[in-house]
Amino acid sequence: MTKNQSNKADAVRYNDLVVRFANVNGSGSASANGMFAKALFRMGVPVATRNIFPSNIQGLPTWFEVRVSEQGYLGRREGVDIMVAMNAETFAEDVASVSPGGYFVYDSTKPLDPKLRRSDINEVGIPLASLMMTEFSDLKQRGLFKNVTYLGALAELINIEFDVITGMVASAYKGKDALIAPNIRALEIGRNYARDYLTAPLPLQVRRSDAVGDRIMIDGNTAAGLGSVYGGATVCAWYPITPSTSVAEGYEKYANQLRMDKTTGEKNFAFVQAEDELSAIGIVIGAAWNGARAFTATSGPGISLMTEFLGLAYFAEIPAVIWDIQRSGPSTGMPTRTQQSDLLAAAYASHGDTKHPVLLPSTPKECFDFAADALDLADRLQTPILVLSDLELGMNDNLSDPFEWDDSRRYDRGKVLDAAALDATERFGRYLDVDGDGIGYRTYPGTHPEKGAFFTRGTSRDEYAAYTESPEVYEENMRRLELKWRTIAKAVPAPEVVNRDQRIGVLYFGTTALPMTEALDRLRVEGIELDEIRLRAFPFNQTVVDFIDKHDFVFVIEQNRDAQMKTLLMAECGFDAKKLVSVLYYGGLSISADTIQEQISDHFTAQKLPRLTGVQS
């Protein structure tokens, strides 16, 4: 494309593009790419970011994708409009992934291999290396500022307000003033090059909008950590594992900031990096047994290690909150890719007849809310609560409604007897179902000199926590736990239903919600209209059962191979397999609107299901 070839205004597409950056891991590109997304956000344009990164610290390819959407479609869609290809090693696949008519931005210091050329896309060459060579003498600086320079060029190419970016540079390096000037200089070099030598702006542009509203930009893990601070967690024990680590780190950061006495440095929390996940969950259970609110964060392999303890906590009825930030498969699998494949492992974790409540957040706001709610639920229900997020939600910056906290909210510590209550109790029985909801009363160690002490063990005990191996007592206890399970179903977050009076429904949960609006909008254009239910928790309450009952069939969309949610619905509610039609994706990226649209549309075609006519998009 040559300079001064002006774009007709009506051909310009505003605030609707996918930009993908291809970089080398550890090259310092992340902060420049992050700034790119943040600049658009600050211009009021909805953005969603996705890190597609290897399990590696330096050297392997990494991608960063920014979805820009005035409509607020925050899920992934297929196709790349602008590829910023900064990793020569992945040129071939990067060229291939550009949508027809899209742009391929590369460092033109070296000419592009003619074999890589595609006639249906536009090449945008910027001689980044040679620009840096003349401007910066230091080798390291050349590498780092290259990232900022392409950011400056992009700003010109798609019309990002330049002072928004320079403002971000200024605040990012506050206190390190010496870094501000060269960063801005690098931005300008990029901008000037684009202005002087490229056709800029492109017909793909951004412009200021009010579509972001009062939303904030944050990742789900940080939100979970912050929510745990607000929810009153005092003990966090964990073991590092991608993609969960930032939950614990988020908690630590905000706890240090908000829960530490500024003068004495005294902390009203304990943060323990344990030696492994066995220990992390043991610490959580010990702390909760002794009346502290405690949580841990891990991923699938950690859940596997925790399962023995989860069984004990289930039977001994000890609160605990466990965040599982799901990833793909085992240790050497795809630890930096996302999936919803721990559902069954979480719901039925452990030996014996065990089941656990599972919360299913979809947004950072929900991560914040569920963090505090889970602590309440664990105490109220006296059982481990698992919160299933995933890498997609946990590690990517996403738009979120601002967090809210009602200052009149009181922590629900559940049924706990203090010394006075014990004095008023004739005979304390830890596992007595006094209220008929399956949940007994607890006491914390050290409460009363004479009453309320009990010995905690697995199942070999009666209602008074006294040792017994009587079959009758065992069965009676298990029946009470079933009753408790029904209480739990009423207490966990209810599903969200959108009723459009259709005969066919769609059921989804977690991050599948992100591309859902877009997928449904596209299907509508194809004459497919569906009722929706977004699950927010297991066990399923009556609303879930009713929703499935009243529809001819329901698509169940999930990001795993084995249709784990469908399995759970069939097992727990007795639904016929035919009633639940799976839409599955498990490639390790987040499920895209295209995948959902395609599979549902194909099913309609294959089954010759009627489509609506005259539907407006």
Binding site: R42, M217, L226, V229, G232, T234, V235, A237, L258, R259, G265, E266, K267, N268, F269, V272, A274, E275, D276, L278, S279, A280, I281, G282, I283, I285, G286, A287, W289, N290, G291, A292, A294, E308, F309, A316, P402, F403, E404, W405, D406, D407, R409, R410, Y411, T443, P445, G446, T447, A453, F454, F455, T456, R457, D462, A466, Y467, T468, E469, S470
Partner: protein
């Protein structure tokens, strides 16, 4: 087996402690272990030690793993909460319990299988974390509850009940604890009430983790001449450091002798126990010295008992982490929730 409550008759002549309680107030349920099990002697020693300390019995927290040894928290301190948790995981549960309420006196009981095999990792790391607790291992050199398999503390060459020799090197928790930086390390014998009780008391008063490896013979599976953890073996091979008094089953045998002397005590099974004097030259503040002393004695086949190492200036986990004085489990919204104004500022920082 059903829980048997002990009749709570107060003997009018039972001595009372400083807070007006008798030993009875520190007892537990009737033991279901084999008659003569060393573990029961350890429980009895805990009862006596805690009652003499005049700590209100409900202010203890007892946590154990799984095993005959780990059952014993039922058999002492009935007025305090106990937790028979998961095999090998007492240290993590106790860590959590101690983090939640630093004011409680924490007693962790474990076995040699529990701590030296399945829980060796947790054992090591709780030493590093310096949880303020008393950590007792009832070391019988066997897996009692699963009926007599070898444990990792078995000496090489010792034979199992079936006569099979152990081919592997033993793990010694005492030397491990010393190496890992434990601030209180002791070894004793379950039958040696006079040595064990003061050690338990010192351990409870110690700030940080106090570790006591208590040789505690299993009469069902490990009390035969081929075992190096049998009554006979220990009796004949025990050289004692520091408080070198050495008495078997506390209820049955007492010994009273001057420091620097030796005394032979007749045991219920007819054997003779040689008590060796307190070694005045032993310096319990020298970690490296303690290590070499224990290992040298081990070379000779002797089991050193007594307080091997103590750092009276030790800090505990709470001090290291600088947690507040109020127990974490007693904090509420006012202390824990930063409130909506702080949240509004955080929202703003995410814009």
């Amino acid at each position: 087996m059903t829980f048997v409550a002990k009749p709570r008759v107060h003997h009018p002549r039972l001595p009372v402690n400083e807070i007006g309680l008798t030993r009875r107030d520190y007892e537990g349920s009737v033991s279901t272990l084999c008659a003569g099990c060393g573990h029961d002697s350890v429980s009895a020693a805990i009862v006596q030690a805690t009652s003499e300390l005049s700590i209100p019995p409900h202010r203890f927290a007892k946590v154990s793993g799984i095993g005959c040894s780990s059952k014993t928290p039922s058999y002492f301190l009935n007025k305090s909460h106990g937790f028979n948790s998961v095999h090998g995981r007492m240290p993590s549960v106790m860590t959590g319990a101690n983090l939640a309420n630093r004011d409680l006196h924490c007693i962790g009981v474990s076995g040699d299988g529990d701590s030296a095999s399945i829980g060796l990792g947790q054992f090591s790391h709780i030493v590093r974390r310096r949880i303020n607790m008393l950590y007792i291992v009832d070391n019988n050199g066997t897996y009692g509850l699963t009926k007599g398999q070898f444990s990792a503390t078995n000496d090489k060459g010792s034979t199992s009940k079936k006569g099979v020799p152990n081919l592997y090197e033993p793990i010694d928790l005492v030397t491990m604890a010393l190496q890992l930086g434990a601030s209180f390390v002791a070894r004793s014998f379950s039958g040696d009430k006079k040595q064990l009780i003061p050690l338990i008391q010192a351990g409870l008063k110690h700030k940080g983790m106090a570790f006591i490896d208590v040789i505690s013979p299993c009469v069902a599976f490990n009390n035969h001449s081929g075992s190096t953890k049998s009554y006979e073996y220990i009796r004949e091979n025990s050289g004692s450091a520091m408080a070198a008094d050495y008495v078997a089953n506390a209820q049955e045998i007492t010994a009273d002798y001057e420091p620097g002397t030796k005394e032979d005590v007749n045991m219920p099974d007819g054997s003779v126990l040689r008590l060796s004097k307190l070694d005045a030259s032993y310096d319990p503040h020298d970690r490296v010295g303690a290590l070499s002393y224990v290992m040298r004695q081990q070379e000779k086949g002797d089991v050193v008992t007594g307080l091997l190492y103590v750092d009276p200036e030790a800090s505990d986990c709470h001090e290291i982490m600088n947690t507040c004085a109020t127990p974490l489990n007693a904090l509420n919204e006012a202390e824990l929730c930063p409130g909506s104004d702080a949240l509004a500022a955080i929202n703003q920082s995410m814009r």
